[in-house]
């Protein structure tokens, strides 16, 4: 295993009794990159990320996080990680500043607490008890606690749930800043635009299997991104995938103006939905057979 990869996962499996939540997945995260793990609820995302964080055991396979097996990660290993859990529900009596100072004290090289408070936009709430904050503000405290220890690798499990669009944009800026400082990031999110904005590479997981893996702009393969031309031909909706949509449109137009003509470039969301849909269909077939 090389030190260029901060995360290495080989044939990772996790079953709960008969149920296989993760069915042999492989991926790496390179040092300094932001990697998005995408997938519907129950796909195995959270199980995977919690195995990497050391919270859950794996059934089989090899996992290295910062060169260490997370099942045996000690305090010095934990000091190099930042973890933003999916949901905490904590309603502490500490104020934002007190909580951050306390957690900063647990790490050997923490960031400056005031800078972190400013980075998540909570300057005006620094002396407010966390229990008195709104859900979105509490979420920003979670993110602040995740980065205050100056982690080499940051886990962000659905970090922007409950954010308004303005807060989400600011969060994106924050994450880009961390990336520029060299922080490696593993992000899970339901918002595909978020993955598109932040991630260098990503994987789509569904039914416990990795359906696609690669640079975020190439996920699903080149074929999935071939533009689609749609038009109405004598009352029948037709579509054709082509690398030369302009030529096709010109040919159609030569025979008269086509009705309801459109040229579509599949977005990450289209590709995601088609991959996740395939997996659901396969599982359905499997369960019937």
């Amino acid at each position: 295993m090389t030190t260029e990869n901060v995360v290495e996962v080989r044939q990772l499996r996790r079953s709960y009794g008969e149920f296989e939540a993760v069915r042999g997945i492989d991926f790496d995260i390179r040092r300094g990159e932001t990697f998005a793990l995408l997938g519907p609820n129950g796909a195995g995302k959270s199980t995977t990320i919690e195995i990497l964080e050391g919270y859950r055991r794996r059934t089989s396979g090899e996992v290295r996080v910062l060169g260490v097996d997370p099942a045996h990660g000690g305090l010095d290993w934990k000091a190099r990680l930042g973890i933003v859990l999916q949901s905490t529900g904590e309603t502490g009596t500490a104020t934002v500043r007190e909580q951050l100072r306390h957690f900063a004290g647990l790490y050997p090289h923490p960031r400056d607490v005031e800078e972190v408070i400013a980075a998540v936009g909570l300057e005006e709430k620094a002396n407010t008890r966390i229990s008195k904050l709104s859900g979105g503000q509490q979420r920003r405290v979670d993110v602040a606690l995740g980065i205050v220890g100056r982690p080499e690798l940051l886990f962000l499990d659905e970090p922007t749930t409950g954010f308004d669009p303005e807060a989400r944009r600011r969060f994106w800026e924050l994450i880009r800043g961390l990336r520029d400082e060299g922080t490696s990031i593993l992000l899970t999110t339901h918002y595909l635009d978020e993955a598109q904005q932040l991630a260098d590479r990503g994987g789509i997981i569904a039914g416990g299997e990795l359906m696609a893996l690669g640079p975020i702009d190439e996920l699903g393969g080149a074929d999935a991104r071939i533009p689609i031309v749609r038009w109405l031909d004598r009352g029948v909706l037709r579509e054709e995938r082509t690398h030369q949509p302009g030529a096709l449109v010109a040919r159609l137009a030569a025979a008269g103006e086509p009705e309801r003509l459109e040229v579509v470039r599949p977005s990450l969301e289209d590709i995601y939905l088609s991959l996740v849909g395939e997996s659901a269909a396969e599982q359905l077939e499997g369960s019937i057979a």
Partner: protein, 281 residues
């Protein structure tokens, strides 16, 4: 990895203790900000002492060898001190940890570079400080508001000190063990408070111990609270009151043995069973 050696050096035992003390400060501040814990664990014995002292002010609690009557306040002070140790130690610890398990606090701490030892130093530090303050307030109110005579013999205060410290340690450790009992943070108070309440009723906190049936006294003597109350009575009641105790004397060795056994058993159980989170959950 070249960074491993200096990193490992930073995680020396001194760090465990330093972070434990930092946790203690954090926990104490949090404790006094929770209105319900301050009332039900911190002020509750004081409230009960006040109620008993006023309600039973005409009651007969015997006399000192000099012929002075023992007041209700003097009679109940040792019982309430023992109850305070139980509430601040066992009840507070068990409910607190169960809630922290439920609300994700422990999961967050599990992901931070914090040793469970530091966490427990923080918890026990919080219990020790709050229990000490609580005892000081109880004794001060008993002396100032109800005129309870306090022991003058340093020997008595030495007994108070070790019974108090042993009691706080034992109750804290047992609280850690009991924190695993509630299935969720929400049910923590509903599960723990009845246990604590029953223990107080059978151990001579609210009801005179000598008035209980003998078989119930034997049952209560299995648990530490009856012994803590016994020890506190030996400090704050006249020596002649030993005649009312089982065996007719102050049995300080019994306190050390029973509490000591619970302490060691509790430590072993806590070491074996405590997990930040259930790993296979």
């Amino acid at each position: 990895m070249t960074t491993l050696t200096p990193a490992a050096a930073r995680f020396a035992p001194g760090r465990t203790i330093r972070l434990g003390l930092s946790r203690a400060g954090y926990e104490i501040r949090g404790y006094f900000r929770q209105g319900d814990t301050v009332f039900f664990t911190f002020l509750f014995p004081l409230l009960m002492l006040t109620i008993f002292s006023v309600a039973f002010s005409d009651g007969n609690f015997g006399t000192t060898p000099d012929g002075d009557p023992v007041t209700a306040a003097q009679y109940y002070l040792p019982a309430m001190l023992a109850a305070g140790v139980l509430l601040s130690g066992l009840q507070n610890m068990a409910i607190d940890i169960a809630m922290e398990k439920g609300d994700g606090t422990l999961k967050r701490l599990a992901g931070a570079p914090l040793s469970p030892v530091s966490y427990f130093i923080g918890k026990i530090g919080q219990v020790l400080v709050t229990a000490l303050l609580q005892a000081a307030i109880l004794i001060a109110v008993a002396r100032i508001a109800f005129g309870v005579p306090l022991p003058t013999d340093p020997q008595n205060w030495a007994t108070f000190a070790w019974v108090f410290l042993l009691g706080v340690s034992t109750c804290s450790i047992l609280g850690i063990g009991l924190s695993g009992l509630p299935r969720s943070g929400r049910s923590a108070t509903a599960v723990i408070i009845p246990i604590v309440l029953v223990l107080q009723f059978i151990s001579g906190v609210y009801i005179q111990f000598s008035a209980l049936p003998e078989w119930l006294q034997r049952v209560a003597e299995v648990f530490p609270l009856a012994w803590l109350a016994h020890g506190m009575r030996s400090v704050f009641l006249p020596d002649s009151y030993a005649a009312l105790e089982p065996g007719g004397e102050w049995n300080l060795a019994g306190i050390a043995i029973v509490c000591g056994i619970w302490l060691v058993a509790g430590l072993v159980a806590a070491r074996l069973t405590f997990r930040w989170i259930r790993k296979d959950g």
